[in-house]
């Protein structure tokens, strides 16, 4: 199932990912300039970021904390001594001529992340390391015919590079892995996970081999910023490699780019030249030495993470794994749900959140944070269904009114008189009237008991939908002498 079929037999895909996640800090990793997205060119650049002569880096403590927090969230080892190295290469958006990164002694060592496959089974992906590094600036190539524009606003923004082991075997694995990492980072609050703005992007290393054989030569697809494209790029790239090998060719280790428009990967010619990054410890910086107590204090701050939350939602609310997974995809979703579910039927709550609410948010272009219906209000609505004040059907009308007016559901139900009629006398009166008005149907129903539904419908219509359908059905059956 995870293998791909070639002309000469089966092939296995081997995938390893390097995820670059921007740390949600106010200022940059090595300078006090702002990290805010979308500012005027070079307006969020310090002399340090522009690598002016004599400028020196100083490490942002918060970025270090966030890296440690993330490491702990990835069940990884924290290295109490870590060192910043220089990675040397020339590029116009790399002002220093080197990127400050961590090479031999990263802040975070090996860890592991669990992904849940669609069949409900789990797959472990090893984390090789997480290190801190500076982001580069941005080159814009399409403003002038013969020149590129360089904006250094991003230059020096703190990134965590999370390097996985080559533990993934299908595009699905890779997609689940990225989305799992994204979820964990969002839970920890260390990265906003915004892939469109480039806060999270992945380099995907793809190789193919005969099942169980030695690793093949890999190609690196750079800078993927959508989970969907990651899947498509892997499928394309693996097929390309299989075709080349089966045609008697060999894979050249290279950096490739995913062309969204053409739906194919292509070689990045500018990166083809062999690199020699000449890593060495940055002599402007000193080893970062952490106290275990400092790390422990951060550990104490770790919120409930997705795996733990998944288990608890299932236990505490009796949800199935599928529903729990939808809710944990985003910590805001789960928080919202838990407010809604307070004191109401949990199954009803999850259906309303993942069904009506998400459908509405999607259609109207809201997020859970900007939802026009707050969790407390939706909880009140589900409460009205739970205590049988209104039926589920009426609730859908109330939901629409809530959207329109912003009023509380109780108020809407009151004002519009939508309260479910549970008064048996009133229902009985309506049932009697319907039976009396339709003697022919009464005769028919005695032959075909399934026709009872028609009577229920008539009574519901007569009561403006406010009667409790179960009570109506019971009463009709009793009056007509039908068996259950």
């Amino acid at each position: 199932m995870s293998l791909i079929q070639g002309a000469t037999g089966e092939w296995e895909i081997v995938l390893g990912l390097e995820i670059h996640a921007q740390i949600t800090s106010q200022s940059k990793l090595m300078s006090g300039a702002s990290t805010k997205f979308g500012a005027e060119p070079n307006s969020q650049v310090s002399l340090v970021d522009a690598a002016m002569p004599g400028m020196l880096p100083v490490v942002n403590e918060f970025c270090y904390e966030q890296a440690v927090l993330t490491g702990l969230g990835l069940n990884a080892e924290i290295n109490l001594v870590s060192i910043f190295d220089r990675k040397n290469y020339f590029y116009p958006d790399l002002p220093q001529g080197y990127q400050i990164s961590q090479f031999t002694d990263p802040i975070v060592g090996p860890g592991v992340v669990k992904i849940e496959l669609p069949d409900g089974s789990f797959h472990d992906v090893g984390i090789e390391r997480l290190h801190l590094e500076q982001d580069a600036g941005k080159s814009i190539h399409d403003l002038y015919p013969s020149q590129s524009c360089v904006d250094l606003n991003r230059s020096g923004v703190a990134l965590m590079e999370i390097v996985s082991d080559p533990d993934m075997r299908t595009a699905e694995h890779a997609k689940l892995y990225v989305s799992k990492i994204r979820t964990i980072l969002r839970y920890l609050g260390t990265c906003d996970g915004n892939m469109e703005q480039g806060s999270l992007r992945a380099d995907v290393n793809v190789s193919v081999r005969r099942p169980g054989a030695e690793l093949g030569t890999r190609c690196e697809i750079k800078n993927m910023n959508s989970i969907r494209n990651i899947g498509m790029a892997i499928e394309y790239e693996a097929r390309r490699q299989v075709d080349i090998i089966e045609d008697g060719g060999t894979i050249a280790q290279e950096t490739r780019l995913w062309d969204v428009a053409k739906g194919e990967t292509r070689s990045m010619r500018s990166k083809e030249e062999a690199h020699d990054y000449r890593y060495f410890p940055d002599p402007d910086l000193l080893p970062v030495v952490l106290e275990q107590s400092w790390v422990d204090a951060i550990k104490a701050r770790i919120p409930e993470l997705p795996d733990a939350k998944h288990g608890r939602l299932m236990r505490q609310y009796g949800l199935n794994s599928y529903d729990a997974n939808i809710l944990i995809a985003d910590p805001e979703n789960a928080d919202y749900f838990e407010i809604v579910a307070k004191g109401v039927d949990a199954k009803l709550a999850v259906n309303w959140v993942t069904g009506d609410l998400f459908g509405m948010l999607n259609k109207r272009g809201f997020t859970i944070e900007t939802s026009p219906i707050k969790a407390e209000a939706l909880g009140e609505l589900v409460g009205l269904i739970t205590d049988k004040t209104i039926s589920n059907k009426i609730a859908k009308q109330v939901f629409e009114f809530m959207l329109e007016t912003g009023d509380a559901p109780t108020k809407i139900v009151e004002e519009k008189g939508l309260k479910q009629v549970t008064d048996t006398g009133a229902i009985e009166k309506a049932v009697d009237e319907v039976i009396a008005a339709n003697p022919d149907k009464v005769e028919q129903v005695k032959q075909k008991p399934k026709m009872a539904g028609w009577f229920v419908g008539q009574v519901m219509q007569a009561t403006g939908g406010k009667a409790n359908p179960q009570a109506v059905s019971d009463l009709i059956k009793a009056k007509l002498g039908l068996e259950d």
Binding site: P53, G54, V59, P92, Q96, P283
Partner: protein
Amino acid sequence: MSDLTNLTLSDAREKLRNKDITAVELAEAHIDAMQQTAGLNAFIFNTEEKAIEMAKASDVKLAKGEGGILEGIPVGVKDLFCTKDVRTTASSKILGDFTPTYESTVTANMWADGAVLLGKLNCDEFAMGSSNETSFFGPVVNPWQRQGDDTQLVPGGSSGGSAAAVAARACIAATATDTGGSIRQPAAFTGTVGMKPTYGRCSRWGTVAFASSLDQAGPITRTVRDAAIMLESMASYDVKDSTSVNVAVPAYEKTLTGDIKGLKIGIPKEFKVDGMPEEIQALWQQGIEWLKAAGAEIHDVSLPHTKYALPAYYIVAPAEASSNLARYDGVRYGLRVAGDNIDEQYANSRAEGFGEEVQRRILIGTYVLSAGYYDAYYKKAQRVRTLIKRDFDQAYEKVDLMLTPTTPTAAFGIGENIGDPLTMYLNDIFTVSVNMAGLPGISIPAGISANGLPLGLQLIGKPFDEETLFRAADVMEQAADFTALPQLMAK
């Protein structure tokens, strides 16, 4: 005029405070001296207008009995220090007419203390050299000449402009930097006092980097007392420099008590190198006698890895430089020489912008860091550096200071050694291990060579114990009583 330019910093300070002279008078006298000595090529950018302006401001403060420890003192600044709105080039073509929008911490400290900027001083390009012949602005001429011989001599390097200007009375004091001997060696060649403090004592922020783990700023002056006053101003803890050390800066001048009784002075035997000239050996012995006579104890010490300091330096310094100088790429500032694409533009700009010696060091540095060679060269050199530092640590368990010659020879002629990089590198043989271990060192003029040129002795101190260093240097300075004057000084 010459009365004013002959003043030491401490004397000028007294006269300014007593209102015997004004800061403007003092600045004007030095501006005149700069013009007289222009042929030395020590100053590459003059800031006369700024100097008068700053001096006027100092006079206002002095009149009110206010002002800092350098109030009204005209100084020169090595062109490695970035100075706001004043062109800064590191004596390289590649910086073009780069004009910083910021001020280095060291110079900012001095302006806050009232110093007056006369101009920017020539140096070896990016401080890479021992003779000031690698400057894009041409060599600096040493104000000293051999007896009966008007051959132009080098002032040493890389702070050759600083040393020459101070020796020639074109400024009272100057800032300098020292990566492998660049303050102490030119001081020795020009009969001046050159002080390299402990690594981490002066902020490196805003000073053009050569080799980050070795670079350290310090003063060149005409007396030890002046060096003490200058360093007090230049030094500070700076949160903008991660390698700046947070220890209080003492009032160094107060430590000049003249009393070194019982001080233990180490004589490192490994500095007695083969072929050391007789007169250097004799000078060293003379220094030992002076210190003994003042009541110090002399001890033989061993620094077994001394021999390896220079080769290790010629791996570490170029390696760091190759990376530090990558920013000079013609994109954000400095020289740009067009090319068909960005990589050609880089290669053209850097080929045209960097001089030969700088290119040579960048290439060596790039090579020793490159794949497959890093461990054999860079890492090996840094391991050797650990051993060098360990040698000093062990010796300092027994002694307080060490005494050595500053240089193996007196100043040589311009052009004499230029074609031979290795011979040139040997100039730093006595100074470089001090940088490798991050220690403070001072060179004072101690004697005159057979052909009439100044010679220096070096004292090496414990980390952050510049006070003891100054105290002993002051005693030795008095004993040496060096009064000879250079031939090409301002009249």
